[in-house]
């Protein structure tokens, strides 16, 4: 039986135009820019200097606290600069500019495609290895995976959910990965189960990917404890809390973590990265990125080294279409427009979406007509129109009372608003400010 979450949600057109195209390895670029902050948490501390020769897989920056991750060199070459460069928002971020020279890897990394099923490490060793490899949640939120695997005191994980929902329109990187690396993902899932000490794992997949559901259901016969749950198509089902609700029927309490209901959620991409880190000793230096859009000549799924400029990906997909209105890093619902095509691919880049002028145009906002559609589609049960108003008036005590921090920034409210109000813009601003106030209070 198909399951889904109960509250809210929208049905944007699917547009998975790159779903049929197999993952291709993108040629290594001439130079890469690797930011030190590609994850949620403290930026990593650089350990190499300008002028150093580095090999692929070598540590560039070391995790600076528990909620932080290591950054490894995705290529071999020379560190030309340790400098600031604009990220997708245009603000400068620290990182390494590496000039590529050949493709030498550090020793100990197994680069073969062979499947390695058996693993002997215990939970602690696995977590250490994941931390060492710099793995973060690859669904887009980039939360360090090792932190998730260590539940806070007094809480115990009961079930591991593997997120293969990919509810964002256009994106197909997870879809292709599941089709092509099904066994690896299964082994990765088992490794995560071992690390967490759980007996049960469920892979959640929306039923717009019947091929994957079929394939993975067949595979689960060989892997103990893993099952596949087909889900009705509804955005934002890939949201952690929505997925938990859909699969287990439990609701994560307001302000709580998924572990509060005994669940840990990992993306399929993360499961694959975990497999590579534990079985192949390979740190997270590559990821699958979808390059797509209606005008794109060759919508593709590329296996890309972290730090590759967006420009290279666009060129490999047939170049920038003439009437491109926006270049979006991520999907159309939650992604962010990038300011320039020099912006590098980071660990959280799941797709590059080129939208034409027509699609990119936002409607002219007019006044709220109190239709309450935003309330009915909000998957977190919030009142977006109210949060918008309060954020606009900068009443941050009120936004806190109205649980603005529970907003998952899925954009369903802005998507559905008939007055084209940029609800999420305001709410995100309110959430930022409220978060700052809450954090300063704790200090």
């Amino acid at each position: 039986m198909l399951k889904t979450f109960k509250l809210g949600g929208v049905h944007p057109p699917d547009n998975k135009i790159s779903a049929g195209n197999a993952i291709e390895a993108l040629p290594i670029p001439k130079s890469v820019f690797v930011p030190v902050a590609q994850h949620i948490g403290a930026p990593a501390t650089p350990v190499v200097n300008r002028g150093d020769e580095v090999k692929a897989g070598q540590l560039l920056a070391k995790s600076s606290s528990f909620v932080s991750t290591n950054i490894h060199s995705p290529v071999s070459g020379k560190v030309k600069k340790v400098d600031f460069s604009a990220d997708s928002s245009g603000y400068p971020r620290q990182g390494f500019l590496i000039e590529v020279d050949g493709d030498e890897w550090i020793e100990g990394i197994d680069r073969s495609e062979d499947l390695v099923k058996e693993f002997t490490l215990d939970g602690k060793e696995i977590i250490d290895k994941i931390q060492e490899a710099g793995i973060v949640g690859l669904g887009g939120a980039t939360f360090p995976t090792h932190v998730k695997l260590v539940p806070p005191k007094g809480m115990k994980a009961e079930v591991l959910l593997i997120n293969g929902v990919e509810c964002e329109p256009y994106l197909t990187s997870d879809h292709r990965l599941m089709l092509e690396k099904a066994d690896e993902i299964m082994v990765g899932t088992q490794i995560l189960m071992k690390a967490l000490g759980v007996e049960k794992a469920v892979v959640g997949i929306e039923n717009n990917k019947p091929d994957v559901i079929q394939l993975l259901t067949d595979k689960t016969k060989n892997y103990k404890g893993i099952s596949v749950q087909a889900l009705k198509v509804k955005y934002p089902q890939g949201g952690e809390k929505q997925l938990i609700k859909a699969v287990t029927g439990k609701e994560v309490p307001s302000g709580g973590l998924p572990i509060a209901v005994g669940a840990v959620v990992s993306n399929v991409g993360t499961a694959f990265a975990v497999y590579e880190a534990v079985q192949k000793n390979k740190p997270l230096i590559e990821r699958v990125v979808t390059v797509t859009g209606k005008g794109v000549k060759k919508p593709s799924n590329f296996k890309v080294r972290i730090g590759t400029p967006t420009q290279d990906l666009i060129e490999a997909a047939g170049g920038l279409p003439e009437d491109t209105g926006k270049i979006i890093s991520g999907g159309p619902m939650m992604g962010r427009a990038v300011q320039s095509t020099d912006v590098p691919v980071t660990k959280g880049t799941s797709g590059i979406l080129l939208v034409n002028n027509e699609e990119a145009k936002r409607g002219e906002p007019i006044t709220c007509i109190r239709c309450s559609r935003c309330v009915s589609v909000c998957p977190m049960g919030l009142e977006p129109y109210l949060l918008k108003k309060l954020s606009e008036k900068q009443l941050f005590e009120r936004t806190e009372e109205e649980n603005v921090m529970d907003c998952i920034e899925c954009g369903s409210c802005s998507y559905t608003c008939p007055s084209y109000l940029p609800l999420l813009d305001y709410i995100r601003f309110g959430k930022n400010k409220t978060g700052q106030i809450i954090r300063s209070r704790k200090k």
Binding site: S89, G90, Y91, P92, Q339, R362, D425, Y426, R428, F429
Partner: protein, 287 residues
């Protein structure tokens, strides 16, 4: 008929009188003793209720002055020294004089100086744009032009100049309440010392990028070359993070620095025309 009227009038009169008596005693019992000087001080204040003094309106400020035993920390920027002298007289305290100030937007990145390199179509407020995005030009320090300062101003002292992309402070309307300083997410607005005829010599830039980067983003960006600093005899100019800053408290308006600035980022405003360079003065007066 007439009896009904009489009864009604009589009943209401009795109720009214009784209520008046009760209210009189209640008012006596719960009488709030208030220093009459609060009212006097409030009367002397400009009643702008702008919050420029740091208190929630003129009444709150009046209460604070009455409570306090000196006026060192208390100053009404709208009323200025004259008002404060009046307040001091009422309270029998010594007024502390301050230089009057006027706001200035330290960005001259109008569209002809600072080309647009991208387009922002989200919620049109500076606070939101700056929280997600560095701005529509390559200068991440410059004015975003949505007018958060304009919205915050209670005195109509800001001309939005939407077509130019950078607002302008109307000097004679500005009361230096500081609302716009708070409102600007890019921290562009500074309260500078008010000179006669609103004359000022000021670096109209906040760009902390290195020279080349700054210049590429905006033709009138400060590149931190230090020429103005060498020229200044009064130590009024400091250079920090590739950006010059003229301290208005030290500046003597000698006008030695604007001509040496290679990017014209130092502005001299409201001066009579220079004698030697006749053509340039026309540009200045319109800028």
């Amino acid at each position: 008929m007439s009896m009904t009227l009489i009864y009604t009038i009589a009943t209401l009169s009795v109720i009214g009188t009784a209520a008046a008596v009760i209210l009189y005693f209640v008012a006596q019992k719960f009488k709030v003793q208030e220093d009459p000087r609060i009212d006097a001080v409030e009367e002397a204040l400009p009643a702008a209720n702008c919050g420029g003094c740091g208190f929630a309106g003129c009444r709150a400020f009046a209460e604070a002055t009455v409570r306090s035993d000196n006026l060192a920390e208390l100053y009404c920027p709208v009323g200025g020294n004259e008002t404060m002298a009046g307040v001091a007289e009422i309270l029998g305290l010594e007024a502390v004089k301050q230089d009057p100030r006027v706001a200035f937007i330290r960005c001259n990145g109008t569209c002809d100086h600072r080309p647009k390199t991208s387009n922002f179509d989200g919620a049109s407020t500076c606070a939101i744009e700056s929280s997600v995005y560095s701005g529509e030009s390559d200068c991440q320090y410059g004015c975003l032009g949505h007018g958060d300062c304009y919205d915050s101003c209670d005195f109509d002292a800001i001309d939005l100049r939407a077509n130019l992309g950078v607002p302008l402070i109307i000097d004679d309307k500005c009361v230096a309440c500081g609302a716009c300083v708070e409102a600007c997410p890019k921290d562009l607005i500074e309260l500078r010392k008010k000179f006669p005829k609103y004359r000022k010599v000021v670096v109209a830039c906040r760009n902390e990028d290195k020279g080349g980067v700054a210049r590429k983003a905006c033709s009138v960006a400060c590149i931190g070359c230090g020429k103005c600093q060498k020229e200044c005899k009064f130590d009024a100019i400091t250079i920090e993070n590739n950006l010059a800053f003229i301290d208005s408290d030290k500046c003597k308006l000698c006008r030695k620095c604007p001509p040496v600035c290679p990017t014209n980022s130092i502005q001299e405003l409201n001066f009579p025309p220079r004698r030697v360079k006749k053509e340039e003065k026309e540009e200045c007066s319109t800028a």
